[in-house]
């Protein structure tokens, strides 16, 4: 079943080349809905109690290099697969209504992107993971460069070069991992399961950890390596930005949980404080920048930096509660940032501007839009009662148990989040309506995308236990490598 989920989008995209232009959008939508149905079936059939990989697929691929075609899902990734399907469906639905030019190319690129993201989440072989990780970037290069606005070429190149530097280092590190472990593992292998049984000695772990960490931090993005974010967020077409912000950033966080912590436990412990400091710096810096911005996209962008900082904080608390919080927060943030960006698109259609200094009063004849936006805003600032709060609460508990001071500093981010999220809402929806601007209620096609997303957010708020209970066993398995310091020290 995993192989079907993985390759279905690509197949749909390829077939789309043969269809007439007006049908491509509908066909892509059909394919993504099919993918979504499969993902829901996967989640429904998921056994929450067991921490082991489920639905695994294992075939030989490049035997001479020890690379296998291995897929599998557990509590960490099953909801990421679902998130990918949900967001890609929403994005394709929005794009189908928007009728982009060169539609076949556009939807094919989206399809490749979906396959790559799904592959990154499902891969259980290190080289396969690196392959899909790098593959994710290519369709976005074309999508932003070819269909973006403003200074898109420069923005794309900045993003690609920057991300690829990290990815290159990650490739080197991955190969080094396999090569250095080949003696202990009895032959060259890239399988994650096998590699985690034979941890490397400390020195190698440290530099390999740094390379992997750099690649993932650039992807998220984290503080100091987020320079590509403002330009990319300004230039990307909105449905593409939804995917960039909602899914791609999560692959970085997921990579830490899936690859880095199980395979390099000593390095993780050694660098824990540094990573937590980077995380808290992202939270504080992202929040401060978010409340000074006037471009709504950048408010969303810096807010994402802060939120991914929280997720990193949870992961590097190296505790089950922090990790579990990170797992649910990855899902939450993906949903919520997608909803925020779609709302921004809806506002843009009414106000023709993305500068909040020029907007205002758009709630006037749009009560439904206002309520949807309020729910999304409250979810962004993680109001208690939302699933985002559960994630943040778990993360803060984990962080508090590890390093009290950092948890306290991180809480500043919560207060700032309330301020910037509400500021964005107020400056666009409340106060006076500027001259020449007309406020309209949400249309059917806008609602078709936004309402299901908000529905998911609200539904999850009623039962976040859905994710936390399924995630905790897998998180504990992921952290299990940390609990054997004696055996590793012997090396």
């Amino acid at each position: 079943m995993l192989s079907t989920i993985l390759w279905l989008p690509l197949a749909v995209g390829l077939v789309g080349f043969m269809l007439p232009k007006r049908l491509v959008g509908a066909w892509a939508l059909l394919g993504s809905v099919g993918s979504l149905v499969l993902a829901i079936a996967l989640v429904a059939g998921f056994d929450g109690a067991s921490g082991a990989l489920q639905e695994s697929v294992s075939d030989s691929w490049i035997p001479d290099l020890g690379v296998r075609y291995e897929l599998g899902v557990d509590g960490l990734s099953v909801f990421m697969v679902l998130l990918t399907s949900i967001l890609w469906t929403a994005s394709i639905l929005w794009s189908a209504f928007a009728h982009p030019d060169r539609a076949r190319n556009y939807f094919f690129m989206l399809a490749v992107g979906q396959t790559a993201a799904l592959g990154a989440f499902m891969a259980q072989d290190l080289l396969l993971f690196v392959l899909f990780f790098d593959l994710m970037l290519i369709p976005f290069y074309f999508l932003i460069g070819g269909w973006g606005t403003g200074d898109r070429i420069r923005a794309t190149i900045k993003m690609i070069v920057f991300t690829l530097v990290g990815s290159l280092l990650m490739l080197v590190a991955a190969i080094a991992t396999a090569v250095l472990s080949s003696d202990a593992a009895g032959g060259l292998t890239f399988s994650l399961e096998a590699l985690r049984q034979v941890p490397l000695e400390d020195g190698s772990q440290y530099w390999i950890f740094c390379f992997f960490a750099l690649a993932f931090l650039v992807k998220m993005p984290a503080f100091l390596v987020h320079g590509w974010m403002p330009d990319a967020y300004r230039a990307a077409p909105l449905p593409v930005l939804v995917l960039l912000s909602g899914v791609l950033s999560k692959v970085g966080a997921y990579g830490f949980l899936r690859v880095v912590i199980p395979l390099f436990p000593d390095a993780s412990i050694h660098f824990q404080e540094l990573m937590m400091i980077i995380a808290v710096a992202s939270i504080v810096y992202g929040s401060i920048m978010a409340f000074t911005q006037t471009n709504v996209r950048l408010i969303a962008g810096y807010s994402s930096v802060a939120q991914l900082g929280f997720i990193t904080l949870g992961i590097f608390s190296l505790r089950p509660d922090g990790g579990d919080g990170a797992v649910i927060q990855m899902f939450n943030h993906g949903l919520v940032v997608a909803a925020v960006l779609f709302v921004i698109a809806i506002l843009y259609e009414r106000s023709e501007t993305e500068d909040i200094r020029e907007m205002g009063g758009l709630a006037q004849r749009a009560p439904v839009l206002a309520i949807l936006f309020v729910i999304v805003t409250m979810a962004t600032l993680a109001i208690p009662g939302s699933a985002n709060f559960v994630g943040e609460f778990f993360i803060l508990t984990g962080a508090f148990e590890s390093k009290v001071a950092l948890a306290l500093i991180a809480s500043v981010g919560i207060a700032l989040a309330a301020f910037y999220a509400l500021r964005m809402y107020q400056r666009t929806m409340h106060n006076r309506l500027p001259a020449g601007m007309v406020s309209r209620e949400i249309t059917l096609r806008e609602g078709a995308v936004l309402v299901p997303l908000v529905g998911c957010i609200v539904a999850l708020a009623f039962y976040p236990g859905l994710i936390t209970t399924r995630g905790e066993v897998s998180v504990e398995r992921s952290l299990a490598s940390l609990e054997e310091p004696e055996t590793v020290a012997q090396r």
Binding site: D324, A407, I414
Partner: protein
């Protein structure tokens, strides 16, 4: 039906009301939204009574009933259940909240008529009551935080209800952000509880706490201080109080409900609920009491000089909550909660009367422009006087008994706690003074222009203007409503105010010292394990002397106001000119807003600018440029080999061949 079933129903009715009004906002005709809203809260009140009866069926020791709906998000060692606790304290709060809310809904049914946002108002109001009930009925700290935050959101929505006004949206933002700061305090308190005790459920925590903590151990003190941060933010105590006066931007029923009877009392409820923790950390409890004392005095002094009618009443609320905080912090739980109940009655009544007067004044709120409404608004003025009497603690009113019970407890507890009794009585004089400042200004004296018009049967109208800034309102969508409703002309308003007036006058008789002790007996179910409350037995002598002193303070205050405003009008102006330094200090609210601006707001903006200019531009983009520059430089170096000259390529081929050949020659030779 069992008490816990009633408990769930108490929560269900307001939520259903909010959803029905919200979903049906396009189709609900006329004022039906108001009817639905009022009915749902009324139903919740009936269920509260049902829960009360159900609770009384149990013996006193077994009146704490917990019930869980489902496990909300518990995992990885963190408990998080959707569970309520039905016990005397929560039912007491539920009765007060639903009872007063029903009256306020009835009042709003008429008062908000004609406002274009009528339906939105009732949806928000119902949601607010739901949130408040969730807060008081929650059975664990995690769900309390959820209710706490929902109340914060609902109050934001209602304060910035007339969202066309910049002042309203800014006030809403201020209230919300300060509330979030309080939330953070509560979150960390909960995290500490999980870390130390592994539980957030009230009954589990209170049972485990005495064994796990020693008295005044720093962990329990930290937990209690964090709870206090939350409580102070919500109850507008110093230094988290700056949002309350600004919150008067909301419609008057909002002020009555949120800022008199319900939301601001949440902090008092929290301290009372967590009493086992506070009794283990007396340092924190004392800090709480001192903050309450400071607030009650400072707020009373500010209320002496501000001129906006609603803001006077707002500062009065802050001051009275200070009394309640003092009460529950020093261990006088039933006394503090009794004052909560009586305060709800007379403060809501005062706000309602203020609403009627402001309507008569065509939305002008400045008491310097009001005067002589006694003939034009007889009902309103009568009820205003009743409310003011209760607030001042006039003998026989409910405020008289409730306020003095707290102060008598403080006096009885003795030692350091005398300071609370003395401070409380001094502030009582101030309270009586400013209450009757309102009365004498508004009710007596020469009738102002609007009053004269009203006596002639015509309700004054004016171009709608923002009372704070004077800028003309944007009435394209009709709000604030062009219609003004005064109590004399609207039966629902009169009915609601009358009920509250009766409560303000006579509710005190349920707790006359030495005669009736209804509330203390009822609350025993919750507080029976309290070491502090049970150790202090207020002797009848102390109680009666306290009542005497309280009555004296009321007379002193009323007498002073009478002299300054009726006997010698204009003397206040002369006082102001002579002591204008003091007057300015008080008028600027002790400069707290300016302090917060300098300490918090300006540094944050400066930090943001620094982040934008320096860090972002120099450091971050520098890194990006460095990376891409490095790659570009590397590729530029390599690119020199691609010169485009065919002969150069040929030379490279030949040179390479020659090199290879030389290599093989050397190797083999």
């Amino acid at each position: 039906m069992s008490a816990t079933t009633f408990g769930w129903l108490i929560l269900a009715f307001p939520l259903v009301g909010a959803i029905v009004i919200g979903l049906g906002f396009r189709v609900l005709p006329g004022r039906s939204a108001g009817a639905i809203g009022t009915a749902s809260i009324g139903a919740a009140f009936v269920c509260s009574v049902g829960a009360l009866i159900g609770l009384l069926d149990h013996p006193v020791e077994e009146r704490q009933l917990a019930d869980t709906l489902y496990d909300y998000a518990g995992a990885a060692g963190i408990p998080f259940e959707l569970g309520i606790l039905v016990d005397p304290l929560s039912i007491f709060m539920a009765l007060v909240v639903t009872g007063v809310s029903t009256m306020i809904h009835l009042y709003s049914f008429a008062y908000m008529g004609g406002d274009a946002g009528y339906r939105r108002f009732f949806a928000y109001l119902n949601f607010f009551v739901f949130s408040m009930l969730l807060l008081v009925l929650a059975g664990n700290y995690a769900l309390l935080i959820v209710g706490w935050a929902f109340v914060g959101y609902a109050s934001y929505a209602l304060i910035s209800f007339w969202y066309r006004r910049d002042t309203a949206t800014r006030a809403g933002m201020k209230a919300f952000v300060i509330n979030v700061v309080g939330d953070i305090g509560l979150v960390f308190a909960a995290i500490l509880l999980i870390q130390q005790l592994g539980a957030t459920e009230y009954l589990a925590v209170f049972e485990a706490a005495p064994e796990a903590f020693e008295t005044n151990e720093w962990t329990i003190v930290a937990i209690c201080l964090l709870l206090l941060v939350g409580a102070f933010a919500k109850s507008a105590q110093i230094p988290f109080h700056t949002w309350l006066p600004d919150a008067m931007e909301g419609p008057t029923p909002v002020s009555a409900l949120i800022h008199a009877a319900t939301m601001v009392t949440a902090g008092v409820y929290l301290i009372a609920r967590s009493f086992p923790l506070f009794e283990l950390a007396p340092t924190a409890a004392d800090i709480g009491a001192f903050v309450g004392l400071a607030t009650l005095i400072i707020a009373a002094t500010i209320a002496l000089v501000v001129t906006d009618l609603k803001r006077i009443i707002a500062y009065s609320t802050m001051s009275q909550i200070g009394y309640m905080v003092v009460g529950v912090s020093i261990g006088a739980y039933s006394a503090g909660l009794f004052h909560l109940m009586t305060h709800a009655f007379f403060k809501a009544l005062l706000f309602m009367a203020a609403g009627s007067i402001i309507a008569a004044m065509a939305a002008n709120q400045n008491i310097d422009r009001m005067g002589g409404f006694r003939k034009a608004l007889p009902w309103t003025c009568g009820l205003l006087i009743i409310g003011a009497l209760a607030l001042s603690g006039f003998p026989g009113t409910s405020g008289f008994f409730s306020k003095d019970e707290i102060l008598a407890f403080a006096a009885e507890r003795g030692g350091m706690y005398w300071i609370f009794a003395i401070g409380g009585y001094l502030a009582a004089i101030l309270t009586a003074f400013y209450s009757f400042r309102i009365v004498f200004r508004v009710v007596y004296g020469e009738p102002c222009k609007e009053a004269k018009e009203l006596e002639g049967g015509h309700l004054a109208h004016a171009e709608p203007e923002n009372p704070a800034t004077g800028e003309p309102e944007d009435t394209d969508v009709g709000f604030p409503g062009p219609d003004h409703w005064i109590a004399e002309r609207a039966f629902p308003m009169k009915a609601a105010m009358t009920v509250l007036g009766v409560g303000a006058l006579f509710a005190g008789f349920v707790q006359v010292p030495g005669v009736t002790e209804v509330i203390t007996h009822f609350l025993e179910g919750t507080f029976e394990d309290s070491t502090v409350e049970n150790s202090v037995e207020v002797s009848e002598k102390v109680a009666y002397i306290g009542l005497l002193v309280g009555g004296l303070c009321a007379f002193l205050g009323i007498g002073a106001a009478f002299y300054l405003y009726i006997v010698a009008p204009g003397s206040t102006l002369r006082l102001r000119d002579r002591a204008h330094g003091v007057h300015d200090f008080l008028f600027h609210k002790w400069y707290f807003d300016e302090l917060l601006d300098a300490l918090v707001y300006r540094p944050a903006i400066a930090l943001g600018r620094f982040a934008n200019d320096t860090v972002e531009r120099v450091v971050v983009q520098g890194i990006v440029r460095g990376a891409s520059g490095g790659v570009g430089g590397l590729s530029a170096t390599v690119r020199t080999a691609q010169s485009g000259f065919v002969r150069f390529y040929a030379l490279l081929v030949v040179a390479g061949l020659a090199g290879l050949g030389a290599y093989f020659l050397i190797v083999s030779g």
